[in-house]
Symmetry: D2
Subunit: 474 residues, 4 copies
C-alpha cells in the first residue's frame, strides 16, 4: 500500500561465559531489531560444537514460540537474523543464519548488507564445482571463507583473507564451534556494534537498542574493516582492513535505525531532531502547527518546532495492528485504505496552516494521499518538508531503492512539479550539503550515493540483488 | 507484563443500499476498533435473511484472511465485534456476534458494556427453562429481547421493552433479516455513534474512527437511551428511554478511545491535551523536559508542555512488534523485559530533570520499572504526573478494574507513599474536580465511579463479570 | 468423490473411581470410534463440578494434541463425541459435547441419532422464549431435560420425563457434576453399550471396540428405552421406557460399525460373513475369484468364498493416506481419481471371472467406476453382489440417506437396469427377507426402513436434518 | 510404538508434451508412493527453465493444499519425493527435491537409496572448498554431477561420469531446464520404472502404482546401471554402467512396496502369496484358521491358506486414523496402546488354533504384544509364521535396519528362544534358500544382505546414514 523503503537485515550474536538458555536472549534482541526486517528470521545456537537452528518466514513472534525456542537447547554462543527482501527473496534457502557443515568444523553466518561483486564471485565458485542453494550474496561470503579456511590455520585468518575478495557492504557475525567472529566491511556501510553484560557475556548487534534488550552495555562500534574475535581468551581485534573511507549509510539516521540507537557516536534521535532544525533554517514558512508522519517523521517535526517556535502537534494516528496480513480492500474501499492505516486527528489540523514533515518521498503516491487526508480534515495550507534530500539514484549496499525509474525525483521533476503532484502548497527537501551536520564530529564519513550518485566503491559491475532469483522461485 | 487496563469491546454495524462485499467494510472497521479488544473478534453478514458468520480468538488480522472473508459472501447488513476479556473469557461461546436462530427470524447481536443485573436475569431465565451456552451478559440481553419479541409486533418494540429490564452499560447493534437496530443504555456509559457514506449506507460504531475507516461521515452520537432503527424506510429513532442521567465513562477520554475519535462532541485528543494542561496548572514543577509514556501519555505530555512552556521531548520507543505472542523471558532476562517493550531514548533524558506523564497507575509495578529505566538512562529527577485521579474503586460497566485489592491507590496509600514506591521525586494526580473540564459544554455528564465510588446506577447486586465462568472453563 | 453413506456420530463416556488424566482415555476411545464421524469432535471433563471442554473441526488427531489434552486437566467423569454431518453442519455451535451452564448445575451432553420431532420441539421452545445457538436436535434434547429438571428432584428423573417428549433415535450420555447418565431411545435405533475396567471405572460407548480401547470389558448393551445412572453409589437402571419394539439399525451391521464390535450380542464381523454366505446361496454364479471392495466389502467377500468354495482374493489396494484434505484433480486427472483412492491388484483379477462384493449402491457412479477399473485390469467377467437390499427410502434416524431422488434404486430402476448402468455382467442384492438371519437369536428386532419404507416410528412430521441450517451458515 | 522397518524414499518425475498443471500429477503420484516415506515431501516444477519448488515436513496431504499447489504454476517437467528418515533427518535442508542454482543451468534431484561412500565423497568435496547444507548423501550425488558437468558437454554425460564415483544404492530422477534424466545404480538396489500416458507424457517412478495414479501405462523397469534421458527428442538410453550383478532389495517384495506394484516383472502381491505358500510347505502345522497381521501380512496369510487348505480369516482391525500425531497414552493406558492401533476380531479367533502370519520380526516386542492380544481374545494356540528369514545384519542401501544390536535374531537367539519371548506355541521363518522363488524367472538377482550378510558391494567403509547429523541438528 505504501511505497516505503526497506532495510534488508539485522544481525545479532552473543557469547556467554557458560551454557544457558541463550536462544531467549537472541529472541529478545531480534524483537529489538525487527524494524530492520520483517520477512523472515532465524536463530542458531552452538552448544559445545553442536549446532541447532531454527528459521522461518514471518515476524520473530510468529516464527518463535515457547516450544521451539526451548528445542534450541542450551548453548554458549548464538546468532540471529531478521530479514527483509524484495521479490524472489521468499526462497527459504535464503533465510539466515546460513549454517554450513564442514569437515573443518561447522559454521553459521548472519549478514547485513549487499556485495557488489556477487555475480563474479558466484560464477567463479560455480566454475570450480560449487553448488549454491540460495540466491543470496551471503552464501558467496560463506564460500569465500570456507575456501580460504582450507589453507588458513584459523577461521579468523580465513575471514581476513576472504575480506580481500568481498566488495560492498557486509556487517557479519560468524559462529564457529568455539568462537564468535564479528566483521564489518572496510567502508562500514551498515552499522555494527559490540557490548558486554554484567556477567561477562559479549554481544554484537546491528544497533545498540538490541544490546540493551539483552541487558548489555554498549562498548563501541566495530570499526570499518575490523574483525573482532570473541572466544575463550576474551576479545581480540584484527585491523588489517581498517583505514579505508568511512561510509556509514546516512539513511540509517534518517529512516532505518531506531531512534534510541546510537550509531558511530551519534544518537539517531538527535540526528533526526537536527534534520528538522536544518529544515526550519533552510526552508522556513509561516504556519500554525508542525506535525510529523509517523513514525520516522515525528522526531524531525519536533526539531522543526523547536527551531522555528511553531507549535508541535500530533497530526496522525497510525494503526499499530495493521501488518503484513492486512487485506487490501477491493475497489470501492480503496480510497479509504490510507485512512485505515493512518488517520488524521482533525482537532490538530482543522483550520490550520500545517507543516508536515516526512523522512523521504519515493514514488510520491503515498505522500499525495496523506496531503489529501490533511486537506479533507480541514487543513488550510499544507507545507511538506522532507528530512532528506531527493532520492535520485539506486542503492547497492543493502536497501531496496533499486529501480531508479520509479523514483519521482529521478524522473527529471523539479521540486515544484513534485509539490504539485503531491498537492502541497510548498515542498522543500533537506539540502545534500547539510547532511554532514546530522552526525557529530567523531564521524568521519558517510555514504550519500542515493542522493548524489557518488558511491564509495565501484558499482559498475553490481547487479541488482534479485537478479539471481529471476530463474528460480522457491 | 504490564498491569494495563482493558476496555472490553468494540462494536460496528453497516447497512448498505444494495448487496456488496460487505464483510470487507466490517473488517476495515474492526481494524480501527482493535484497540478496544484484542482477544477475539467476529463478523456476521445478512444476505436477504440468510445469516453467515465467522468468529475466532485472536486479532482481526489473525482471524480473518482473504479466503474466509470471501466465504462470508455478499450482503446488505453486517455487524462485527472485537473483544477483550479477563479469565474465563476464552470460552468460544462468548465470542460475538451472538447469532440466534429463532422461529420469528434470525438475530445477531454485538454488545459493548456490562450489565449489573446479569445474575438476576440469568437466574430468572434459567428457572423458566433457558439454556445459557456462554457466560456473557450479552446472552442475557439476547434472551430478554427474544422473550419480549414473542409478544411484540416488531423487533424494535421488543428491544424497547427489553431495555426496561436491562440495568447497566450496553451499547449494542442488533441485526435482523431486514434491519439494523442500534441501541444504547439510558446512561450512555459506552460510546456509540452513527454515520453515513457517500453512497447512502448507514454505519454505527463504538468510535468515530471506525466510521472514517469505511469512508462514512459522522452524523451524530446515539443518545443515551435511544434506539435507532435502520431499515428499508431509512433511519428512525425511538426515544422512550432517553432523558436519564448522561454518564459517559470518563476513562474513554483518558485512555480507552483512540485520540482521533470524537465522543459526545469532544475530541479525545483534545481532552488529553487538556488533562496535561490541567496537570501543569495543578501540579507545576520546574524541569527540563516533559515526556509521555506511549501511547496514551503522549497527548497529555504535549498539553503539559504547551501549558508550562517546558520543552516536549520523545522519551521512549515502544516496540510495536510485541504482541500477545511475546514470550516472557526467564528469570535471568526478566529485568530486561520492560526494556524490550519500552526503551528510553537516552539522548532525550540524560542529565535532565524529567516530567513523565502517564494516564494512570494501577498496581504501580510497571510505573516503578519505567521510572527506574529513566534513572538508569541518566535522568537527574523524575516527576510523575498522572492524567487521571487515583483509581480506588471497581468498574461495573465494561472495563476490567474489578479487584480493588490490587489497586495501589485503594490500599490506603498516600500519594507520597506511592511516589516512594514508584521511585519518583514527586507524584501528582489529576484532581477529580477538574475532570469535567476535559469535556466540552455539550456534554451533560459522565461516570467517574472508579475514582469516586459514586456510580450512576445501583451496583449493590452486581457481580464481577467473570463469576459465571468460575465453574466452567472452555 | 465417492458417494458413500455416513453415520452421524459416536459417543463415549467414562466414570472413574478417582481423579486422573481422564481426557486421555476419551481420546483413545474416540480414535476407536472415528469411523462413525470424521468432521468434528470434542471432549468434556468434569473435575468435582468444574467442567472443561475442548471441541473442534477435524479428526481426533487433528483437534487434540498433547498440550490441549493436558489443558483439560484431571477429572473423574468425562464424555466425548465424534461427528459427521451434511452441509450446514460445519456450524461450530453444533460440535458436541453440548455444554450447558445452569443454575441447577452444569450439564454436558453427547448424542448419536436423530429426532423426528425436532421441528415441533424447537418451535415449542422458541415460542416460550428459548434461544437456539445451533441447528442440531441435540440442543432440543438438552432443552427438554433442562425444562423437566426445573420440576424434578434429580437429573435422571428429568431425563426420564424428557424421554416422553423425544421421538426418534437417540443414544446419549449426559454428564452432571457428579453423575454419568446413559440413555437410549425406546427403539434402540443406534447402538450403546457399557463396560467396566479392572480398576472399577465404568465406561459407555457407541460400540464395544471403544470399550476395549480403554481397557474396559464389555458388560452389556444399554437396553432400548433404558436409563443407566452411574454415580457415587454405583450403577443403577431405570427401565420405565423399556419394552418397546427393538429397532436397531440393520445397516450398523452391514456398513457403519467396526467389524470387531459386538452389537446386541451379534459380532459385526460375523454378520458380514453371513451376508456373504447368504449372497452365495441366493445369487450363486460360476467364477474364478471373489473379491471385496475395501473396507466393508471384505468380510462379506470372505463369507461368499467360504460358502461357495470359490477362492477369496485381494482385489484392491485402498490408499490409506487419502483423507478429507485430498485435492480433487482437475479435469485431465479426473479419470484417474478413483485409481488414486482404490487401485486394482492386476495379478488377482487379470483373465479371471470376478465376483465383486460391496456393501451397498447409493447413486451407482462409484460402483460403475470400480467395475470399469476391474475390466481395465483384465477381468473377463464382473459379477457384482451387494450385501444389503436396494436403498429406496430415506433414513430419519441418524444417517445421511436423506434424498431419495439420488438413490439409483429408488428411481424405478430394475436390478437389470442398474447392472447395465454399472457395467456388471450380473448384479444381485441381498433379499430383504434374509436380513433377520444376520442377527443372532437374542436380537428381537431391527429397523430396515431404508429398504422397506416401514419405519418403527411415525416420520410424517420429520424434517430432513439440515433444514434448520438453510437460513444460517456459520 | 511399533518397531517397524522403514523404507527411506519414493521418487517420481513426469515430462509432458506441453505446459500444464503438472504439479497436480506429481501430487497424485506422491499419494501413491506415500507408504515409502511419511516424514517429508516436495515437488519441483520446471516451466521453460524457471524452477519452482515447494517442500515441507509431513504427509503429502499436509504439505500440499490447493493454494500452494497452484502457486507452483504450469510446467512441462516436474519431479517429486517422499521421504522417511531416522533421527537427524528432520533437518529441513535434507528435504528433497534438492534444487541447485548453477551457472550452467538449474538442476533438481530426487533420490531413493543410500551411498556407501558418502563420507569419502563429502570429505573430498569439502577439502576442495565445497559447502554442504544438509546431511544427506543426495547432496553428494548433486556435487559429483555438477563437478563432472564442468568438463562435459551435456548433463547426461555428467551423470554417466558421476556414476563411476558413486557407490551404493541410488534410484534418481534429475530435472534440468529441458530434460528429465532417470538413472539407477548398477546393482539396481531400489526399484525404478518408466511409463507413458495416452497423450504422450513420460513418467518415472519408484513403483508402478504411481504410474497408474497419473494414468500412465507401465513401459518397463529402468535397468540396473541404466541412464534414461527424456527430452525434446524423445526417450534415449545410456547403458554404459549396465551389466553388473542385479541386486534388487528382496524386502521390497516382502514389505516395502505396495502389493499392486510390479517390480522387475514380479507382482508384489504374487510374491507375498508365494511366501505364504512356501511357509505352508516348509513349516506346516495343524490349525483352525490362518490370519495375517495387517497390512503386509495379509497377502502371505492368504497364500498360506490357499496352500494348506486351512481357512483364511480376518483376525485384526487396524485403526486407519492413527498417524504420526497419535499421542502415546500415559502409563496407565500404555497396555491398551496396541489395542488402539490393532484390535482383534474375537469372533475369528476365539477357541481356535490360530496361525498368524507377519512379514518380519525386528525387536520382537510388538510381535509379543500381538500374540498376547490373540490369547486374550481366546485363541487356544498361536503359531507364528514369518514371511521372511530372520534379520541378522544391517542394511546399507536405503532402509533403517541399521543397528544390529537391537535385532532379536542377531542376538544369538534360537528360533525356539524367540518363540518363547513372543509367547508363540511355534514359530517359523521363511528359509533363505527359498527367497529366489518369490521372484519370477526374468529376475536375475537380488540383495539379501540383511539376512545373510552377503552384500553385493563392499560396505567396509560405509557409515550409518545418520552420522553426519551427529553434530548438527536443525
Amino acid at each position: 500500500m505504501f511505497d516505503e523503503l526497506h532495510e534488508e537485515c539485522g544481525v545479532f550474536g552473543i557469547y556467554e561465559k557458560s551454557a544457558c538458555n541463550i536462544a531467549e536472549s537472541v529472541y529478545s534482541a531480534l524483537f529489538a531489531l525487527q524494524h530492520r526486517g520483517q520477512e523472515s528470521c532465524g536463530i542458531s545456537v552452538c552448544d559445545d560444537g553442536v549446532f541447532s537452528h531454527l528459521k522461518g518466514s514471518g515476524l520473530v513472534g510468529e516464527v518463535f514460540g515457547r516450544d521451539n525456542l526451548k528445542s534450541l537447547g542450551q548453548g554458549r554462543i548464538a546468532i540471529g537474523h531478521v530479514r527483509y527482501s524484495t521479490c524472489g527473496g521468499d526462497n527459504p534457502n535464503n533465510i539466515q543464519p546460513l549454517v554450513i557443515r564442514h569437515i573443518n568444523g561447522n559454521l553459521a553466518l548472519v549478514h547485513n548488507g549487499n556485495l557488489v561483486n556477487t555475480a563474479a564471485l558466484r560464477k567463479s565458485f560455480e566454475l570450480s564445482g560449487a553448488i549454491f542453494h540460495g540466491s543470496s550474496d551471503t552464501e558467496a561470503i560463506a564460500y569465500e571463507i570456507v575456501r580460504q579456511r582450507l589453507s588458513c590455520k584459523s577461521t579468523e585468518e580465513a575471514v581476513e583473507k576472504a575480506m580481500c575478495e568481498l566488495k560492498g557492504a557486509y556487517s557479519c557475525i560468524l559462529m564457529t564451534a568455539s568462537k564468535m567472529i564479528v566483521f564489518r566491511d572496510p567502508n562500514g556501510f551498515r552499522p555494527l556494534c559490540i557490548g558486554k553484560t554484567a556477567d561477562g557475556a559479549y554481544a554484537a548487534a546491528s544497533e545498540s537498542c538490541a544490546l540493551e534488550a539483552v541487558g548489555a552495555s554498549f562498548i563501541r562500534d566495530v570499526r570499518a574493516g575490523e574483525i573482532v574475535v570473541i572466544g575463550e581468551d576474551g576479545i581480540q581485534s584484527i585491523t588489517t582492513h581498517c583505514g579505508g573511507k568511512n561510509s556509514i549509510c546516512i539513511f540509517e539516521y534518517i529512516y532505518f535505525a531506531r531512534p534510541d540507537s546510537v550509531i558511530e557516536g551519534t544518537s539517531v534521535h538527535r540526528a533526526r531532531l537536527r534534520s528538522g532544525k536544518i529544515l526550519a533554517q533552510t526552508a522556513p514558512i509561516d504556519a500554525d502547527i508542525v506535525i510529523g508522519v509517523p513514525d520516522s517523521g515525528l522526531d524531525a517535526a519536533l526539531g522543526y518546532s523547536l527551531e522555528s517556535g511553531i507549535p508541535y502537534g500530533m497530526g496522525f494516528i497510525k494503526n499499530k495492528y495493521i501488518g503484513r496480513s492486512f487485506i487490501q480492500p477491493s475497489q470501492v474501499q480503496r480510497d479509504n485504505s490510507v485512512k485505515i492505516k493512518l488517520n488524521v486527528i482533525k482537532e490538530t489540523v482543522a483550520d490550520k496552516r500545517v507543516i508536515m514533515i516526512d523522512d523521504s518521498i519515493v514514488r510520491g503516491t503515498t505522500c499525495a494521499r496523506i496531503v489529501r487526508l490533511l486537506r479533507e480534515a480541514g487543513a488550510k495550507e499544507v507545507h511538506v518538508r522532507i528530512s532528506s534530500p531527493p532520492f535520485v539514484h539506486s542503492c547497492y549496499f543493502g536497501t531496496d531503492i533499486d529501480s531508479e525509474d520509479r523514483l519521482i525525483a529521478h524522473n527529471c521533476r523539479t521540486t515544484a512539479e513534485i509539490a504539485e503532484y503531491i498537492g502541497a502548497d510548498t515542498l522543500a527537501y533537506m539540502p545534500v550539503s547539510t547532511l554532514s551536520s546530522l552526525l557529530n564530529d567523531k564521524c568521519f564519513g558517510f555514504c550519500d550515493g542515493c542522493f548524489t550518485g557518488n558511491y564509495p566503491v565501484d558499482v559498475s559491475n553490481a547487479v541488482y540483488k534479485n537478479k539471481f532469483d529471476s530463474k528460480i522461485h522457491g
